[in-house]
Structures are given as C-alpha cells and as structure tokens.
C-alpha cells in the first residue's frame, strides 16, 4: 500500500520457452493427439482398407458410439477435478438403463420414465457423495463398494435377466437419439443424430460450469488443496455432494443413450465401463490427484477411443489389438503429463 503502484513484469528465469511450450501442449495436446489418430487411420484405411473410414456414414457411427462415453466422462471430469473418482459410474449407468426399460415396460408415461431414470442416477451419485463426505472414506473404496451394490440392484430389478421392451412403447425420439441413420431433416445443418448434439450441449454447459461459476472454482480448489478450501470457508461436504449428484445425472443420461443404442437393458453390461470414462478424462489431461481436467480434453479423450475402435474395425484389426492400443495411449498420456508437471516445477 505504501509502494509505488505498478505490477512489475517478471518472467521466470531460464525455462520460459520450455514452460510455454508445455503450456500449449497442455491445452491442445489431446486435440493434437486426436487429429493424429484421425489422420493416421484415414491414410492407413486408404492404403490397406476400403477407404470407408472417413466417410460420413462412419463418422456418424463413431460420434453416436462416442456420445454416451463422453457424457458420462464429463461427469467424471468434474469428480476427478474435485479430487475424487467414481468407479460406480459403469454399473450405475446400466442401473439407470434398467430403470428406464422396466418403467417403460410397466407403461408409465414418457416424462415420468425419464424423470425416474435421471433421479436414479442422481441418487446413485448422492449416495457416493454422502458416504465419501460424511464417513470420510476414500472415494476409491466407497465407489468400489457402490459399484457392486448398483450392479446387484440392477440385477434384482431385471429379475436376473435382460429386460426387453416392446418397440411400440419406446418413443420415437428415444429410438432416434443414437440412430446412425441420417435424420429426416437435411440442409445446412450437419447430418448427425440428435443425441450427439445433446452431448455437445452438455459439454458446453459443463465447460461453462467449470470456468465461469462459483461451483467450478470450488471444485478446482477442493481438488487442488482441500485444506485451503476449508480455510477459505468453502462448504466442502456440500460441494462434494453436489458434484457426485451432478455426475450421477450425467451417468443416467449415458444410461439413456446406451438403452437407445440397443433397445434392451442388460444389467451386467455396465461392468468395466467406468474405466472407459476414467480413461477419457486421463487421456484428456485430467489428473487423478485432482485440480486438473478440461472439457475439451475429455471430449478428445473419448473421441480418440471411439476413433481407434472404429478405425481398427475398418482395417479389420482384431479387437484385442485395439485394447492394447488404448492401453498404450493411456500410459503415454499420463507419462507425458507427469513429465510436463516435473518440468514446470523446475
């Protein structure tokens, strides 16, 4: 206050160029990787394949298959930014799909069915948040437990088998949500299923939430240093409840997508899906120790996995090879990230 008031510009000595380079990689790295994968497969497909990889029809398939992963991964992004993890997301999403299928079969009206599905997701998330926040058990353990609980609930609801729904009972929009066919409307608007647009809308909302809202700041603060957040009077328990509930809502949405893809609900189908969601976040630059993660990164992460799956199909590469590739990419992404952090600290 007694000082001459001017902010002195002071560049960190030495590593500024390197630091800046990493910073660019930080924000665009995942997108760059996505572009690389797309270009790589396009070229490979034109040489060895049938040149169908880059066709609009295939792009539509990739997008439709990526949308549910992306939506749930966006919820996971928020949870991971706040320093948490949700291993129950996979089984919770099929629990939601099962609720959807059962209530449709039981003849409830469509708004009621959707509300019940979304509420189920939110309730799953709230349960996680409550256990983590109030019992102070690490999120990894809590959600490991609820993962099996949700699986069991879904099985009970489905009476141990798959739930089939009469086609006539499924509303048209739900059938078209994840349709790979071009929609009826044409013209200047890109020809993609409505579900993809919905997912993009959700992404924009989450991005705004993370960047421009008080809640968003609190998420970063808690994930970055929970004691600081507490010191600053942040209601840590409340924020955790909220973020898990929000993530639950998005998981329910992912459940709706996957139901609309296959039109049946198989309770065991969700096992292992959560790892895909987490992988999307991690490939996208999210840090499992909290405080870091971006919407753009997560979308790119989800898309990378979608593109690899589809590209391998087109090139008739075995499913097992795809798994190995995705595994390598996850490890590479995290290695790069660690390296980046270390060189920033220096």
């Amino acid at each position: 206050m007694n000082e001459p008031s001017n902010v002195v510009v002071e560049l960190p000595s030495g590593h500024s160029v390197r630091t800046r380079l990493w910073r660019i990689l930080d924000s665009f790295g995942p997108l760059l990787a996505l572009a690389l994968v797309v270009v790589g497969f396009t070229i490979a497909d034109n040489i060895w394949g049938q040149g169908r990889f880059a066709e609009m029809r295939n792009v539509r398939v990739i997008l439709v298959l990526t949308a549910p992963v992306a939506v749930a991964a966006l919820g996971m992004t928020m949870v991971i930014i706040a320093g948490g993890i949700d291993l129950s997301a996979g089984t919770a999403s099929t629990l939601c799909a099962t609720v959807l299928a059962c209530s449709l079969s039981a003849g409830y009206s469509v708004p009621v069915v959707i509300a019940m599905t979304l509420l189920t997701g939110a309730a799953c998330g709230l349960t996680n948040g409550l256990l983590i926040g109030s019992l102070r058990i690490p999120p990894f353990i809590v959600t490991l437990g609820t993962m099996t609980i949700f699986l069991g609930l879904a099985k009970q609801l489905a009476k141990g088998s798959t739930v089939f729904v009469d086609r006539k009972l499924i509303p048209n929009w739900l059938l078209n949500l994840s349709s790979t066919m071009p929609p009826d409307w044409h013209g200047w608007f890109p020809n993609i299923a409505i579900g993809v647009w919905l997912a993009l809308g959700v992404a924009v909302l989450v991005a705004v939430l993370l960047r421009c809202t008080v809640l968003g700041r609190y998420l970063f603060a808690i994930g970055s240093n929970e004691s600081t957040a507490r010191l600053c009077g942040v209601n840590v328990l409340g924020v955790k409840l909220l973020v898990y509930a929000l993530a639950g809502l998005l998981v329910a949405l992912a459940g709706i997508y996957s139901f609309s893809l296959v039109k049946i609900a198989n309770p065991t189908e969700g096992i292992g899906k959560e790892l895909k969601f987490i992988a999307a976040v991690v490939i996208g630059g999210g840090s499992l120790s909290g405080g870091r993660g971006t919407v753009l990164g997560t979308l790119a992460g989800a898309a990378i996995m979608g593109v690899i799956a589809s590209g391998c199909d087109q090139l008739e590469i075995q499913n097992s090879t795809q798994d190995i590739m995705i595994g390598i990419i996850i490890i590479a992404a995290v290695t790069l990230d660690q390296y980046r952090q270390r060189s920033m600290q220096r």
Binding site: N2, V7, V9, C212, T213, V214, N225, A229, L231, Q345
Partner: protein, 490 residues
Amino acid sequence: MLVMQGVCKSFGATQALSEVSFSVSPGEVVALIGENGAGKSTLMKLLSGAHLPDDGSMQLAGRPYRPMGPNDARRQGIAMIYQELNLAKDLSVEDNLMLGREKHRWGWVSRKEQRKKVVEILELIGHPDLSPTRLVGQLSIGAQQLVEIARALLSDAKVMIFDEPTSSLPKKDVDRLFAIIDRLRQQGIAIVYISHFLEEIRRIASRFVVLRDGQVVGGGPMESTSDPEIVTMMAGRSVENQFPKVPHSIGVPVLRTQRLTGRVPSDVSLELRKGEIFGLFGLVGAGRTETLRQIFGLDKTLFGTVELADERLRSTPRHCLRAGLGLVSEDRKTEGLAQNLSIADNLTLSDLSPVSRFGVLHLSKRTRVVREWMQRMSVKARSSEQSIGELSGGNQQKVAIARVLHQNAEVLLLDEPTRGIDVRTKADIYQWIGELAATGKSILFVSSYLPELVAVCDTIGVMAKGRLREVRAADAWTEQDILSVAVSNE
C-alpha cells in the same frame, strides 16, 4: 570427535550461518541453544549432509568431513534424531531396526541372526523389555524414539544429534530418554542436544553454545552460567527501525475466548479489542497455531467458547469466515494456498460473492478486483492468472494476506505472517498490520520472532505447553521476560 571451523552458509541473499565454530568430544553432551531462525536447523542440515557449507571446514574423528548427502553422513557416523520420527509404522521393531541392513542369505532373511543383534542393541540402551515383534505404529511416541535411537546405534553412530527430542514426550518418557542419553555418553558417543528448555539442558548437558542470527554469540560450561545470562545471550539484540509503526487507538472488546481447550491448547482465555494488535508468543509446540486454528473452527474444540461481538461463534471455518474472521495460515504450501491454482483463484476463493451473480462468475470483474489488490500490495507476477506456486515466498504471502483483506475480515488471525520472506516484505507487512489496526480491525498476531512482536504489538501473551501463561501490555514486557516465561516448565 566433531569439529566445525569458520563455517558459512547463505541461501540467496540471506546469510544463514557466518563463521560458526563448534565442537563436541566423545562422551560429551553439548547443548545448542537459540531462538527459532537463529540458524540451528541450518547447522544441523550441514552436519546431516542435506546442504554443503559455502566456506569453512568440518572434521569428524580427525579426518575431513564432507558428506555427499544424508546417506553418506549416516554411513560416516552422524545420526540425527528428529522431532518427527522416521520409522515405518507398519513394520515391527526388529524390521525397523534392520531396515536396509537385513541379515540374509540369497535374499532369505535369517531371523535368528537378526534377533540376536536386535536383542543386543535393545539391551545396550537399557530396554530389553521392548519386544522386537511389536509393530512400531502401536508403540507410544517415547518408545518409538527408543527405536530410532537404537537404529542410530546399530549404524555405529559416533555423533548423535537430538533435535528438540522432548517436545512431544510425556514427562515419564523424558526421564527415560535422559537415562539413555547418559548411557550413550558413557559409551563414548558425542552428543549434540538442541532444545529451548533450559531446565532440561541443565539436567543433561555439560556445555552449551548459543546461536543468534547465524553466529555463535556465547558458550561455556553449564555450571558457571545462570539462566538469565543464557536468556540474554539468546535475545540480546538491538531493535532497529525496521518496524514501521502506525498510530492507532484501541476500542471495545471484539473477540473473546473462554477456557478454550482442544488437542493442544488448554484453558486459553483471551480478549481482543477493536483496533488492537495482540501478539502471541511461544516456542515450537507451545500451542499458538493450534489456538488460532481452534478459534477459526479448523480444529475440534473439546471445551470452552469463542465469542465475536458477544455472540457465540459456531466452530466451522465457514461460519467464522462469514462472521468476519480471517486466517492466514503459517503453512503456505500445504494449507494456506492452493499451489497449482492461479493468483486470482487463491485471492478470491474465500469470498466470490462480489465478483459473481447467482453463482456465475463475472470473470473480467474478478480480474479487475484481483489486479487492484496486486497493485495495492505490489505483488510481483506476470499476470493474475499465473499459478501461485511460481511466485516467491514474499509474493505468495502478500496474496494470502490480500485474500483476508478481500473477504473484508474484521478480525485477522495471522500465523507467522513473516516467516520465510525477505526483510522488505516484512516491513511492508508490519506497515499493513498497523494501517489495518488504524482502520479499526483487530489482529491476533502469532510469531516466533520476538523483535517483531515487541515492536508491532499493543499487547503480548506468552504461551507454553498449551497454556496462555501471561498477558501484558507490550511495553510492560522485556524480551528477557517473555523468553523466560516461554521456556518455563510450570
């Protein structure tokens, strides 16, 4: 055994040690005394190999001693017993003792041989009662310390350095520790004993050395020196005009604690008035930080109340903050600031309401507000979005203080606000504290640095072993008085 001569060490522009000479012979216990920040820990870090001296020489058992790192120092025979113990809590006593030097044949641990050695060493320190199979985590702190000492003996330590070993021990364990130190001495081990408590030093050491501002200012045999003489050596420093003062007046009581008791503080009752700067002094472990944390609702209160303007405060940080309290943590790294968030995030986290509407942030407004604070407090940074971990300690502290000002706290709890920052920023902080008091804010100022407390505060309270021992107006204290209350055991 160990001789240091003319040792100098500086960190950047600060001279931590200058021309320090120090020696200890086999079978001798030398006490190293000094206020916090006098250079004791730097000296220890040189001995333990964590840092290398800039100048001067060190000798161990007649040979030049130049440790390449902590491991090398240990191998050469220097063992440190720290305040925080370095043990693997989930391993047994035996496994801890033999960790890294297991007796084995082709990777198979030969338990029998190990057990023999362990029993031997436990007998040597006079505690064959300690079972080698107990898990270390289940032992009391005092017993864990025994394990640590035994481990040092196993590695053939010639010099053992005890750094405030009694700060977390109950009295019974202190007696036991002293008995062991005596045994070690008789076996010809050279011992350096660091402590604040003169009584303890008198019981165990034959000679003392006083460090102040990185220099040896006195020393001699314990017997021929009185406590007041030693205290004068520790404190004796002329106060220069590095403490700007701002005239301010004191009003009605604002914050009052009554018989506040928690894990460390016990029965702390104090009263803070409007416009008052209340200093809280005490040595490490006296419970000052814990008292602040408890007032702010960060630590659990077992007993007692905190009242703000005659209203009882709910003890959660959120309620305290809303009621007008603000805390600057002593630990910027792990608590005070979220190191990988930006300046803007850190500065506004405690109160986002002025820069948001219905939960949506007004980003440009926030940047404006943050820039204003950065200018007022002359924070040096590239931009308000720079990550706070990249700033210097002084600039980080400015942001931490700006946060409390931004939330417009009426009562400021400052925990060691000048620790680890440069002299100029320190002077700035004293100036702000004065200005804040002049605008009617109340400040509770915890510090281990006596000169600043005496210069800046209106009232000073001294804590020792969790209790608030005495409160007087600042001009009714001398530095010697304060220190002697702080080192008293009763």
